[in-house]
Amino acid sequence: MAVQNSTYDTANLAQKKNRARRDALSFWIFVGPLVIGLMLFVYIPIVWGFILSFFEARNTVSPTQYVGLTNYIELFKDPRFFDSLVMIIAYSIFIVPVTFALSLGLALLVNSVSRGQGFFRTTFFIPVACSYVIASVVWKMSLFNGLPSGFANNILWWVFGANPVAWINTTDPPLYWIVLVTVRLWLQTGFYMIIFLAGLQEIPHSLYEAAAVDGAERGWKTFRYITFPLLRNTSISVLLLLFIEAVQAFDEFRNILGGGGGTSIAGGTQILARPPLVYLYNVAFQDQNYGRGAAGAFIIAALIVLVTVLQGRILGFGKREY
């Protein structure tokens, strides 16, 4: 009996070991490509860029000439970089609350629909799947081009009887902001709406029923005292994500306002609204100053980390709601 048992146990153990090894192998086969990709295209470039930012690297990405903090100091003294920082902070202060309010509003509306919620969810989410570049080009060439045949100009003519307007090139008033902000709102709102919807659906219905018993109907009162407070963690995550995305703004600015000066033959409209990433892209790829571009990228990263940590502290991210 004992011998039989031990043979059975050994066989079982061997099977379990094989099983474990197979599981580990399959794990690495599936996760491997992702990890390799992450290493090659994310982590190694980050480390390389960080090292490069302490070197004088023009027309080359090999660190050869150590210059310490020169790149960082020069950037802080650079009025153009400073302008872009001011611009992006002002832009974030505007765009973050607007997107927040819009996506929360949409989420509330979609949540209150009894039939066809899936349809509306999908409709508002589809723009998120669209590439920033494609949307920017469509906005620039088709919707807001300066021709009388452009979509926006058509509306101006048929509804207001106004002459066609060069949306992107008019500086007084700065109409290009309308183009920039609408494309971002169109592309982003659906995503945050989904996050809010998830948050909304976690709020127990019993709270609303209790409120109804106490005489509070669904409306502003329940929103202010039940819905919004219980959405706190969701709101904080949304704010964090919105801020990060706002500071990293690049695609729509570069594609709508142009690639910028340098010896490229593109025009100078880029200067109208130039976020730090667009400026740093020019520094690295047109001025060929890779060390300085890398330094700038890390300054922006530090800014984002700082604000994120502060935001988390102040707003109490992660604390339990009740």
Binding site: L147, P164, T170, G262, G268, A284, F285, A297
Partner: protein, 451 residues
């Protein structure tokens, strides 16, 4: 159940591996000329370590082995240029055993692609540049080409050669010369009773007089003329250059005045904005959107075909009577990658194409758009350039033509253009902006010359 799970598992793994291999495979250069360039934008961190999918080169400089020469062009606007470039490459490949030339036609932001490629080992062997600027020479990206010019150097236009000569060595073969000026509709000026403007004040007045509301007075590009070449041209027309040896020379009272005048022009409302194409495309003038347009010689065939005798040309007006008008002399040159494994083969190819083969040079310069052949003998014998506006352009080019020094790099461009754009588009103060530009450009120049 167990069997099918295993099977599914194996199948997915195989598919994943095949997909990875396919993704890492070669990409063949199949360019299609696009109407509107769409620009891609990797974040700075990504591109620093990104790998280039360089077409495989049979790396061997042994005689008898097949050598593939990568030849990069930017996307020319004129029809037929891509086919012509391929034709020349094919002709050379046929008559030279063991060597094949592959043409890569780069749409959109050519310099972004080129700069990234030159950082790697898989960069092009032969490529176009506008100037052989000193930053590239110092970084060792360009091969000296003096040996190719033996005996023919005098035949080349001196200004064109100056754009590729650094420290007495030549780093590029001038291929086309692009003079840029202001073209206009003669009948419109006659109707308004004005002469072609000679000074900035006259230009401002002319633009106002020619602005009929439906048709604007002047087109400088959708960015009101913030682009680089017009900026250089107006600097020359203010009686100064951008650099004088190793100091900044553009911060003069005359240049401040020129920027003030340009700001006045930009804010006058007489400039065309929101045109469907940029300044390098003649449709604004030809389609009657504006009466005057800043553009280069290359567009002349199209303009002549549409306007015939009604096409007039003038240099960019002087800032006032104390200075001279200016014509910007631009152009493209062919350079060879100093890190190329097939330097000798590339040099032979470039010599055949751009120094010896005058037929091809004339064809390239004159059959698709109009450019001035850099070889004086070819330029004087070119029939299309002997009459009409084209001949006038040549004359103006000889009289008023100027080009920046090779010490002027892309980084200085950014600083100068940004300052200028602030003045034109954001109404900044020219004095303050020129000071800012001077600081930035001088810093760049100092660090460049101290390397």
């Amino acid at each position: 159940m167990k069997m099918s799970k295993q099977f599914l598992f194996t199948l997915m793994t195989t598919i994943l591996l095949i997909a990875m291999l396919a993704a890492c495979g070669e990409q063949s250069a199949q360019p299609t000329p696009q109407a509107e360039p769409v620009q891609e934008e990797p974040a700075p961190e990504e591109a620093v370590g990104a790998e280039e999918a360089a077409p495989a080169e049979e790396e061997s400089s042994e005689a008898g082995e097949e050598i593939i020469i990568q030849h990069w062009y930017h996307q020319y606007g004129e029809d037929g240029t891509f086919e012509a470039a391929q034709r020349y490459a094919a002709e050379y490949s046929e008559q030279t055993p063991g060597v094949t030339v592959e043409v890569n036609w780069v749409p959109g932001d050519y310099f972004a692609a080129l700069n990234a490629a030159l950082l790697t080992e898989g960069g092009p062997d032969v490529f176009e540049l506008q100037t052989a600027d000193i930053a590239r020479v110092k970084a060792g990206q360009l091969e000296p080409l003096d040996s190719l010019f033996e005996g023919v150097q005098d035949d080349f236009n001196a200004t064109a050669l100056s754009r590729v000569t650094v420290d007495g060595k030549i780093y590029g073969v001038p291929m086309i010369i692009d003079p840029q000026l202001v073209f206009y509709r003669k009948s419109a000026l006659e109707e308004a009773g004005i002469e072609p403007p000679q000074t900035m004040d006259e230009l401002i007045a002319a633009a106002a007089a020619l602005d009929t509301g439906r048709v604007k007075g002047l087109y400088l590009g959708n960015d009101l003329g913030s682009a680089s070449y017009l900026l250089y041209m107006s600097t020359f027309a203010a009686g100064t250059t951008m650099l004088d040896g190793n100091t900044v020379a553009f911060n003069t009272d005359q240049n401040i005045k020129m920027w003030q005048k340009k700001q006045e022009l930009a804010q006058s409302g007489n400039l065309l904005v929101g045109a469907p194409t940029e300044w390098w495309d003649p449709s604004a003038l030809v389609d009657g959107l504006a009466h005057m347009q800043y553009i280069g010689l290359w567009a002349t065939p199209g303009m002549l075909a549409a306007m015939g005798d009604d096409l007039g040309v003038m240099p960019w007006p002087a800032v006032d009577d104390s200075a001279q008008p200016a014509v910007f002399i631009g152009g493209w040159n062919q350079s060879i990658n100093a890190n190329s494994p097939h330097k000798q083969a590339a040099m032979d190819y470039v010599k055949w194409l751009w120094i010896e083969n005058t037929d091809i040079q004339q064809d390239w310069n004159l059959s698709y758009g109009f450019h001035v052949p850099p070889r004086k003998s070819a330029a004087t014998s070119a029939d299309p350039l002997k009459s009409g506006p084209a001949a006038e352009v040549l004359q103006l080019m000889d009289e008023y033509g100027a080009t920046p020094s090779v010490l002027w790099t892309g980084a200085m461009d950014s600083a100068y253009i940004d300052a200028h754009s602030e003045v034109l588009l954001n109404g900044a103060d020219p004095t303050e902006m020129l000071n800012q530009a001077q600081t930035a450009v001088q810093a760049e120049l100092d660090s460049l010359l101290n390397q």
